[in-house]
């Protein structure tokens, strides 16, 4: 096998509610009664998270970040999924869900510490119900399943009380679908009928490996083998991503158990700022996907159907610029950790032996720099 064979994964029966040309289409399984204002809100989200991404890449180029994992092309999947969450739902991201973080009201600066090397995450997942980024592929899907077990034990599913019923949303990639942990999380979710929705962004690539290296059938079908529903959605369609995720989360909250969503999308940038896709990707593939840009289609809809004028788009652009400025200046101001902080949160109760190492270390660093 040589090239990324499209024939294996044609685009099958995937849910789409907004065509690449910006036309609304209906899907009886996923009715979406949504105002143009709300769609405009999605547009704003999409543009802003793309801007976050652009700025972060620029900061990496300038040496302000060690690395960045770009979400370019995956904005719609992430905003659709993220906006479907309710406040008390919990999200478990990988390392690429900057768009979901945005929907959870996580300040983009909070995400930068990990990539700048000033911390290892360093925030409380419970503050915005958004877990720490997880780099070990697939590990977070089990955390999501466990969290969902807790939700059940807290009596927070199927009560009918919308302020109480809680769902969990676990993100992972097409490559991650091969990991034991991801499949074990399916086992747990099915056996325990857990209120967890698995959201797989199939961006066609796991670094240099096309999705065909992982699976010979569409990934959403994996779920059926474990006994729960799977659905493929157009991940470049924010409306479909929203509607499909919303329904799955509703099912989870209503004690209907798990769903696997495969958001069919494309990684428009290198895997990370370290990667060189020219070694493995055909440029033409990217060109094809460009035509399905997740933002353009919403813009087309808003212009043609909702008749929004330049003012709206200018405002969003204005806001994006402000956000960019916030990120640029904020990033440079991220506090460097103090050397001795290395020892601080290894344990809740620091053992004596570690305290001694800490003292030695602090004294030594002071001595050397004196």
């Amino acid at each position: 096998m040589s090239e990324h064979v499209h024939a294996v994964h044609p685009e099958p029966d995937m849910v789409q509610l907004l065509t690449p040309e910006g036309q609304r289409v209906d899907n009886p399984d996923y009715p979406l009664d949504i105002s143009d204002d709300e769609i405009a809100g999605f547009y704003r989200d999409l543009v802003l998270v793309r801007r976050i991404d652009t700025e972060a890449i620029a900061l990496q180029r300038q040496g302000e970040l060690g690395l960045w994992a770009s979400l370019l092309g995956q904005e719609a999947a992430q905003i659709g999924a993220g906006r479907a969450l309710r406040q008390h739902d919990m999200a478990f991201p990988t390392y690429r869900e900057h768009g979901v973080a945005w929907c959870r009201n996580v300040d983009p600066l909070t995400l930068l510490g990990l990539f700048r090397g000033t911390n290892l995450g360093g925030f409380d997942p419970r503050e915005h119900n958004f877990n720490l980024y997880t780099i070990v592929i697939g590990a977070q899907t089990l955390h999501a399943a466990g969290y969902a077990m807790g939700v059940i034990r807290d009596g927070a599913v199927g009560t009918g009380d919308p302020t109480r019923d809680t769902a969990v949303l676990a993100f992972f990639g097409d490559g991650a679908s091969s990991q034991g942990d991801v499949n074990e999380s399916f086992v747990w979710a099915a056996a325990g009928n857990l209120p967890v929705v698995f959201f797989c962004q199939n961006n066609q690539w796991a670094i240099s490996e096309p999705v065909e290296r992982q699976s010979r059938v569409p990934l959403y079908r994996r779920a059926s083998g474990f006994g729960f529903p799977g659905v493929r959605v157009d991940g470049n369609d924010v409306l479909a991503s929203y509607a499909v995720t919303r329904r799955a989360l509703d099912d989870a909250r209503n004690a209907q158990g798990p769903t696997l969503i495969e958001a069919y999308t494309y990684r428009m940038n290198p895997h990370t700022t370290n990667d060189d896709p020219r070694r493995y990707q055909l440029g033409s593939e990217r060109e094809t996907w460009k035509l399905k840009d997740p933002i353009e289609r919403v813009r087309a809809y808003l212009t043609r159907e909702a008749k929004l004028g330049p003012d709206f788009f200018d405002d969003v652009e204005q806001e994006a610029r402000k956000l960019a400025e916030h990120i640029r200046s904020g990033c440079r101001e991220l506090p460097d950790p103090t050397p001795e902080s290395v020892f601080d949160d290894v344990y809740v109760t620091m053992p004596d032996e570690l305290r001694e190492q800490r003292t030695d270390f602090t004294e030594f660093v002071a001595e050397v720099s004196a």
Binding site: M90, N119, L120, G121, G122, F123, D124, P125, R126, N131, L132, V136, A139, T141, L142, H143, A144, A145, G146, Y147, A148, M149, G150, V151, I152, R153, D154, G180, D181, E184, S185, V187, W188, A191, D344, D345, V346, Y347, V348, T349, P351, D352, E353, L354
Partner: protein, 325 residues
């Protein structure tokens, strides 16, 4: 405390019960921990009394057991995971080392991982492969984890409660060989969890162990005493953190130290103790720290385990060597 002496298995069972009574967030999870009460019956009766929501028969996958425990901890629970046998902890190793051990640190101390991972450990029961391993070294070398081992019913009763109550993740080593060994009384109050204990004072050679080897050490001390050699026997109880002060205080008196464990020798617990004691009590040592341990081989077929394990003869031989050095 208790009116009747009990086995270590029973003491652990009672300790877990107390832990569950005290904190409704404590959940027990693992393979066969429910109706069966675990293959060693350590969780016997707990599902019946606390329900299936708190004593959870999980699917058969160790990464899943640990990984879901992490999620439960994020949600505010305090999971106690049972690994059925030592050799089966490895499929869960990634979740232990990369997640359980690091999560508190990664969250800048904002999320606690109060997870206890119980591992029936070590050999001496004539079992088939993978059922007799000593895996503590892997965890002791992993920052963020604590590793303790009980060696008698009273400690078992108290230590399991303290481990469950600890806000840090604890690897709890249970020497399966001692589960149904002699019954003993339960002390009225616990010794601090991370503190070593001098279980027999002596002036000639310090002998240090933990968990399953402690009965061998006490026996060795008895036999040595017949020859007029008084061993000071120390039960480490905690392997990480290591209460090296107690060991050093003893070595400063005896000048000689033998460390005993079942895990393979190389890069094992004994090496660290030797290194630290030598560093901190260099001029007190009359002889190098000697080690009596499992050999650097896979755990042998059970017909050979008695020879392979640190037994009375091997301990006494090392004591002689330390004295003759």
């Amino acid at each position: 405390m208790s009116d009747t002496p009990m086995t270590m298995a029973k003491a652990l069972n009672e300790g877990l019960r107390k832990a569950m009574e005290r904190d409704p967030k404590v959940v027990i999870m693992g393979e066969d921990v429910g109706k069966l009460g675990g293959v060693f019956r350590i969780t016997d009766g707990l599902q019946k009394d606390f329900g299936e929501d708190r004593v959870i028969d999980t699917p058969l996958a160790e990464s899943g057991i640990i990984g879901t425990a992490v999620g439960l901890a994020i949600r505010g629970y305090r999971p106690v995971c049972e690994i059925q046998f030592d050799g089966f902890v490895f499929p869960g190793f990634d979740q232990i080392v990369n997640q359980v051990a690091k999560f508190h640190n990664r969250s800048a101390g904002l999320v606690k991982m109060p997870i206890t991972i119980r591992i029936p450990s070590g050999g001496g029961i004539g079992a088939v492969e993978h059922h007799s391993e000593s895996v503590e070294t892997y965890f002791a070398h992993t920052a963020g984890l604590k590793v303790v081992a009980c060696s008698n019913p009273s400690d078992a009763y108290w230590m399991i409660q303290d481990a469950v109550a600890d806000d840090d993740p604890v690897i709890f080593i249970e020497p399966k060989r001692l589960y149904h060994a002699a019954k003993a009384d339960i002390a009225d109050a616990p010794t601090a969890l991370y503190q070593a204990r001098v279980v027999r004072p002596g002036q000639h050679v310090t002998v240090v162990g933990y968990g399953g080897t402690m009965s061998t050490l006490l026996e060795s001390a008895k036999v040595a005493a017949e020859d007029g050699i008084e061993l000071e026997v120390i039960d480490l109880r905690s392997v990480s953190p290591l209460d090296i002060a107690t060991v050093i205080e003893s070595v400063q008196r005896t000048g000689r130290l033998v460390v005993v464990h079942e895990a393979p020798q190389s890069f094992g617990i004994g090496a660290e103790i030797a290194a630290r004691v030598t560093e901190q009590a260099f001029y007190s040592l009359e002889a190098p720290v000697l080690r009596v341990t499992g050999y650097d081989t896979p755990y042998p077929p059970s017909r050979l385990e008695h020879e392979w394990l640190p037994n009375l003869d091997r301990v006494l031989d090392a004591v002689d060597k330390a004295l003759e050095f």
